[in-house]
Symmetry: C2
Subunit: 574 residues, 2 copies
Amino acid sequence: MRRLRIALAQANFTVGDLEGNRSKILQFVKEAQREGADIVVFPELSVTGYPPEDLLLKPQFVEENLKTIKDIAQQIGDIVAVVGFVDLEKDIYNAAAVIYQHKIVDVYRKIFLPTYSVFDEDRYFSRGERIPVYEIRKCQVGINICEDIWYPDGPGHIQALAGAELIINLSSSPFYAGKRSYREKMIAVRGIDDAAFVAYVNLVGGQDELVFDGGSFIVNPEGEIIARAKLFEEDLLIADLDIESVLRTRLHQPKIRKEILQAEKVYKVFVAPPKERPSGFIKGRTEETPPLEREILQALVLGTRDYVNKNNFKKVLIGLSGGIDSSLVAAIAVEALGKDRVVGVLMPSPYTSKESIEDATELAKNLGIQIYTVPITDIFEQFKKELRERVWGDMPEDTTEENIQARIRGNILMAISNKFGWLVLTTGNKSEMSCGYATLYGDMAGGFAVIKDVMKTMVYKVAAYYNKIKERDVIPQRVFVKPPSAELRPNQKDEDSLPPYEILDPILKAYVEEDRSYREIVEMGFDAETVKKVIRMVDINEYKRRQAPPGIKITPRAFGKDRRLPITNKFVPF
Amino acid sequence: MRRLRIALAQANFTVGDLEGNRSKILQFVKEAQREGADIVVFPELSVTGYPPEDLLLKPQFVEENLKTIKDIAQQIGDIVAVVGFVDLEKDIYNAAAVIYQHKIVDVYRKIFLPTYSVFDEDRYFSRGERIPVYEIRKCQVGINICEDIWYPDGPGHIQALAGAELIINLSSSPFYAGKRSYREKMIAVRGIDDAAFVAYVNLVGGQDELVFDGGSFIVNPEGEIIARAKLFEEDLLIADLDIESVLRTRLHQPKIRKEILQAEKVYKVFVAPPKERPSGFIKGRTEETPPLEREILQALVLGTRDYVNKNNFKKVLIGLSGGIDSSLVAAIAVEALGKDRVVGVLMPSPYTSKESIEDATELAKNLGIQIYTVPITDIFEQFKKELRERVWGDMPEDTTEENIQARIRGNILMAISNKFGWLVLTTGNKSEMSCGYATLYGDMAGGFAVIKDVMKTMVYKVAAYYNKIKERDVIPQRVFVKPPSAELRPNQKDEDSLPPYEILDPILKAYVEEDRSYREIVEMGFDAETVKKVIRMVDINEYKRRQAPPGIKITPRAFGKDRRLPITNKFVPF
């Protein structure tokens, strides 16, 4: 009976850390060998980390990556390992090395290079041209990379028609909420279309704006998911594949039999001979897909943890206002790093309410984190005095004075950051980022913007979910019910400047994430003047977003490299 | 005698301003008609402005651009106009409409889509496939777009072999110092290779990080530049082309005669019939290429003017320190906007020298600009007091206290900006940006970073050139001779933290702009420890640059969208 024991090495690699990635790859290989696997597969560009961006334009980086893959190959014996790296032959390629018995037996080069959303692969790579099928332990295996499998007539299909019984896809596919179920459906359909097993191995971990959610899995020729790796953490998923069942399935499918007969021959490479089978049959674990709030929370926790740790920060610093945003960010930071690595700073002004101070203090107590309190009133008065005397005399107060307060707070947070070497986490949400309802160099000051891609209405949901799984009100109930306010002038409410979030957020989704026109959004049932006002706010605040810190992408269209609009732009969409 | 009077409309368009661009196109057409031109040619993507970036992902934007080109066509009579726009047919294309007698006679679609440096065209466009030759007034004309002409065997060559006597290239080619001479040489060689006239029309104006320098020109089949438009300003360049000379040249060149005989047929389109010739022969003007300092100064002036005006700011605000950087930025601002639109702010601290205040004051007087003086000492003391009492007690002072001062200044500038609606120009140079020798949210706070891509040694040269053309020391001599200092602690000098700029700048050029390896740079003759130190500074400060305001690209590799490195990056190149 032809059977293949496959191991999917869902590892957390770091961009540029060739040495660290090398030893992690070898550890996973060793573990897979202990489990008796015939083949162990790693994500796309495991050697370099993903995405390496302009590191790819440094010849030295490319060459050291080549040395690394050769060194890895030398250390691998009686197991087939498939490892993502950058190949070089006249130009560079996003490639997978097929390694067996200390040799790179063959190299597959990615054919479809994504250049949209956060991807820029046409900027770096040439596309591959060969579509080989490998013989491994008497089984026919097609290997391809990430985007390649998103095309129904792509290399996976061609490999299947040329006889491949198992299609392996190496991915580094960034998370957004809801993407996993889309991806699983798509791959399941590939399994059915090709009447083949499909093994999909995905990267896990945070890299600047991106989180890779793992969730590697295997589908059988009937399109059923037969094994699933963990989400948002490293995992080695092992499963035995009954390769003989492929022919059985195909014999029942006249369509694919016809296609196979008509298919062109492809390049075949012999990789590894048959081997005595270990006894027993590993079925592979499966995990359920979590609800939306949970996967968003997990993504935010992992993205924060990896940004902080991979950039070697000991602690993080958060300005606590007593509002829902900073409360959620503090909770996420504690989940990611533990309470001893999170410090809160209260910076009350003349307009800070007693309730806000109580709520922030209670939150800090519930989380068990240290807090500093640095009042800003005297500094604020000093600024106002100098500017009145030297610049604007008795001109009336306006948003200028609000921004001064926010920037004093930014300065205090950054001063503590500088003094102790801690990272400031900013607390702005996507609704604010969209409308520019934030102070540049003020509350936008910091190294990492945890909830930058989370709309305000979702902030409430994720915060409620967090309290629910903690089985207590870590974030105090009052924080959920009081009206949101920046507290930068007496009795200020967000709704003085913005439409209610229940109305604002769907308009923003339509305009920012879906590029719908003014007319379309009005036809969705929103008030025309409100839509105009929101669009205007989004468009004129591009300059603020350009200077915002990076934050974690959790939607199909995040700010940052996912959405590239000019600042100088006179297009008025109404 | 076959002769063609061509007009190159080197216009300054604005991204997204479909209505403004439309009326500017029609004005240029009218002017070209008055001059008796047979054909008037506009730059790449004139209708939308360049680069429109993600505006291209908005269906509404693409559709309004189509309406605009149709409306333009309707208004054009007895002249052939070639206008860049976005074509839509199942997908979108970077295209040129060939208009005659109120109709779009044909559309050429760009074939080579640049996806490197600041370009992302594969993100947006599909590539064209047709390579037509147009008959215009009995002359055979090939039209193509920007990148198309950079390939020796590209569409221009194919058009020439198929009979085109004139190749027209519509470009939006961003400036860097020295690019023009490279571009002129390349196009001249195309003229020789193809034994054809080549008319190259380029955009002019500033767009966020980019400046388009104009400098449109025409070469004859001998590769001589026979007409040159102005640099860094709008222009309509008219010249009569003696098209009959093309055959004469070709008959003397056996190589191209052979190639022409073997060439495949291409799609031919009849555009416009012959017409009685106006008398006289317009030879076309030529201008000389300026020295490096002059073209850099012109680029900075135009980039600043267009950013400020296209974004509707009335005035700009500059923190004046008495140093060379802020002095040059103030001078550029006055050149760009006039003295009444520039305001300087002096913000002395306890460490500001008497000389610095004198130099800044003298500069402001020489430029004739208004200044405010807002001392920061009392605010600084207040910050230190609060932070000592509440956070760090009697820990020793360090760079934290330096950064606090810089951020107080940032807050003051932004407060004045907020109060009056003026734009803050930042004054950091490329040497500082590279090494992170700048305070995030401090001296980096502002909307536009004028000299962000100018190395310190070049700042001195451009400033000296500026004084020279002004024929007096507008920037006081002492500013050139005193050692550079941030003046954030007693007796501070840049050289306490950085290598001398004469050593630093070439190392930065090698590492940042040319991606040379550590080893290569050391082999260039620099001290190994110094090179390591510089590389380390560049690499760890990626996060600061990510939050920097946009500034004008003047080198082949600027920060911003030209250089895309991850923040989280463990690659150590030594």
